[in-house]
Symmetry: C2
Subunit: 503 residues, 2 copies
């Protein structure tokens, strides 16, 4: 490699080093705001995060970055770049293009709009009045429509949005996937609806918060989450965040009269964190220590939350531990009653409270509406009705008001249309990966029964985690499971679970 090329690579690494530093600062400031910052810290903090974010934007779109990317990725030369360097440059080039194709003032306008839209959405939700939010959502949709044209897409403008969260995924593929899912799951929803509802009132007793804290720390430690490279703190809306290469924090929410809120939030966020904690250390400096896609990241959190955390085998081992924390509340409850209660399936209005089965209809509904909004086939003003119609069709329930319906999620207010499909894709990936794990590690359920979660973790470390975003979603799925994404594994998993629960 010539000296000039090495110099360019060094200069590129130096730019990344700055981006990494600013992002550490931003992520810590954000974590602090959401966990421990005092009230009067908020105003200045938001300004500061804005200043640092715009520095990241400046570096990512700088003349220097452009020249380095152009030089090092020039198609007619072969510099013998290491694969990791090339991959980093390609990812950075994608981001450069995405930013650069939007005029700077449009970008700024969108930030201002979504900040405002987010505030108004909160008001509208509190008032259960979609009309308040409607004009802002109209502008958000309109700007995103413009952006998709500027970004470009092969077939459907919505593809350009999917690209941000699920690179390579298209409307064409999603339509097939979700159609198949609908056809497979609707009969299951009907089947469950005819069964006797599961009662789990004991989950709503008073559960001491400090005991919950101890329990949650114990459980994530059991998963192999490294507390020397992270923390677990309470917050309002649980999240996982990466502060730096040695610091992947998780948060949870402790609620007095609901044991499950902290329990499953913690397992979920710890799933994300274990992914982040297990990436190859050489990826960090190349900005490649990130999830392959939102869907893949979600597959890791959902695996731990549901496939492990809501399995009968997991509680075979951990139920006795749980009782030791809450002997009073659970003294008359069997492990099986507990297992059924945390898995009860029932159509409901709110996505984030939905069970593993009905959840997908919340996503499919949103996907269908978003896609048509962006294509201009449905108008913002018609959303509430369209929403309720689909709820009725898919789940047989109709929200009593817009707060329980079309206004329930934040995503549209902050412009992240295109994100929702990643949630369902996460379930699909998780089921498919786990099926493969079952072939390679046939004793995995027996291991869980013994409270040995480490061999499972290590399987995922080896197959998925260590690669960060060095492999695409498609590459991962194919290399790990030997086939393309296949929704049948989720269907099979859900069928088996329903059998266990409602037999």
């Amino acid at each position: 490699m010539s000296n000039l090329v090495q110099e360019k690579i060094d200069a590129y690494k130096k730019l990344l080093q700055k981006i990494i530093a600013y992002e550490e600062a931003i992520n810590l400031m954000d974590w602090d705001l959401k966990t421990v910052a005092p009230k009067h810290s908020i105003e200045a903090r938001s300004e500061t995060i804005g200043v640092l974010s715009s520095e990241v934007f400046k570096i990512s779109t700088s003349k220097e970055m452009e020249e380095l990317l152009t030089f090092l990725l020039s198609s007619d030369k072969d510099y013998n770049l290491e694969p990791i360097v090339r991959r980093s440059l390609e990812e950075q080039k994608k981001e450069f293009d995405r930013y650069k194709r939007i005029p700077a003032d449009k970008h700024q306008e969108f930030v201002v709009l979504t900040t405002k839209a987010n505030n108004i959405w909160e008001e509208a939700k509190d008032a259960a009045d979609f009309k308040l939010f409607q004009p802002y959502l109209q502008q958000v949709v309109q700007m995103l429509q413009e952006f998709t044209e500027l970004w470009g897409y092969k077939e459907h403008p919505y593809d350009a949005l999917l690209e941000m969260y699920e690179p390579g995924m298209t409307v064409k593929q999603l339509d097939i996937i979700f159609q198949g899912l609908k056809e497979a799951l609707i009969p299951l929803v009907q089947e469950v609806a005819e069964k006797k509802a599961i009662i789990g009132d004991f989950l709503r007793l008073d559960y001491d918060l400090s005991k919950q804290k101890e329990l949650n720390e114990f459980l994530v430690d059991q998963m192999g989450y490294d507390f020397q490279a992270g923390r677990l703190d309470p917050t309002v809306h649980p999240f996982q965040t990466t502060i730096n290469r040695g610091d992947k924090r998780i948060t949870t929410k402790y609620v007095h009269n609901d044991l499950t809120v902290s329990l499953f939030s913690t397992l979920h966020e710890a799933g994300h964190a274990i992914y982040e904690q297990s990436m190859d250390s050489q990826l960090d400096e190349w900005l490649l220590a990130e999830g392959a896609s939102m869907g893949i990241h979600e597959s890791q959190s959902l695996f731990w939350e549901n496939i492990v955390g809501r399995s009968s085998e997991y509680w075979d081992y951990y139920y006795q531990k749980l009782i030791s924390y809450f002997p009073e509340q659970l003294k008359t409850v069997t492990k099986d009653e507990f297992y059924r209660a945390i898995n009860a399936m029932k159509a409901s209005f709110i996505r984030i409270e939905a069970d593993e089965l009905t959840y997908h209809f919340h996503i499919i509904l949103r996907y269908e509406l978003e896609k048509e909004l962006i294509a201009g086939n449905i108008q913002v003003k018609d959303l509430p009705k369209a929403w309720n119609d689909k709820m009725k069709e898919y789940l047989g329930v109709v929200p009593e008001n817009d707060a329980q319906g079309v206004l329930q999620d934040m995503h549209w207010s902050d412009g992240s249309l295109g994100y929702f499909p990643s949630y369902s894709l996460g379930y699909l990936y998780a089921a498919q990966f786990t099926h493969q794990m079952g072939k390679e590690l046939p004793e995995w359920k027996e291991q869980i029964k013994k409270g040995n979660l480490i061999s499972i973790k290590e399987w995922y470390n080896e197959k998925i985690h260590r690669h960060g975003r060095c492999k695409t979603t498609n590459e991962l799925v194919k290399e790990v499971t030997g086939e393309e994404l296949n929704p049948d594994y989720l269907t099979a998993y859900l069928k088996e679970k329903i059998n266990q629960l409602y037999q």
Copy 2:
């Protein structure tokens, strides 16, 4: 004001806004490291703080900053700048000059040297072996000698170091102040040495940490510290830090078998924080919401820690509260026994454990050695002996080894020679301000007896805090007390206290 001038001011403010943003990020990352960050976060965090600090350095010394300062402070024009703008420009100009007079590579070399020196100092202290540290300290002293020549000074090279911490203070003035203090305090030390020692073993019983936490939160709340604009967290070496204009955090150290460590650390750091919380809000954007000097800042912490927190009147009110937290430990202890125990005076080796009287000899000793080191009148290799000789002379005790002597403080390893005098100056300012408060608020001790600390806080808010660094130390002292710094007030305060304690 012309448009051009307004434009320049706006451009200047924009630079400050960036500095403020980076400093918020740096301070939060530092706070996090010292309170909650997991172990593996440290390595990358240190690099990140380095990246952001060098950005602050770049902005502060940029061509743009230079041009703006030169234009706006040009001596032959009068732009009718608001006083706050002029003051900000002048302070920024000082920092610009200070940075710019050191060549960039020298600056970098000093950072690397002091980082290494600091590590070696820790080793040397653990091994109680000055020889290990000696070559590094030699280099630190040598570089500081070079710097003082580059910065310039009127009479003594040490003046250039004092300027960083105590602007306007000189060796000439300090020699007089400290000589007077020595003459006044040596007889007091002798007087106390002849009295019967005060025993306070009950302070070393087992004090539950969570009770201590409750107590400390209660006490700082009583002082008027605003928990909506700050937090109190445990750490190893207590400190106060300003995160942003609405967030001034304090830390303390909880020790099982020593009630006083957390108690007086907390009062001390809360004193700093109340200063920071009470500055005029318009100072923030001009980078003037800082202490007038280290000594003035220290006067506020020492006022609360000692003049209030170790007063008989304070415990007239709060001792009953204290007992309510620790009834077992204090059941046979009278308020007077407690008051005497927390004020016991006794010559000892360690500065940070020294009482209000003997403390000053620790400072005078360091000042005298630093001054002669920088002037080249004493060699680094001769420090251990010079240290012990002075300890013997001033306090009549000789450390058993270098860890208890010349190696005890971190300050020399990180290059902050010139800082120590600010500690004693803080006591002097505090005594002088408080004497003035006694004239303007004659009932202040009665107020303390009733647990009303707010009128005291408000007196300091009005006289000192709100000005930030808009006034110099000399201006503050003169405007508030009507005279120059006068060490007699401290001497009088100490005499009265000794009378109370040892009569």
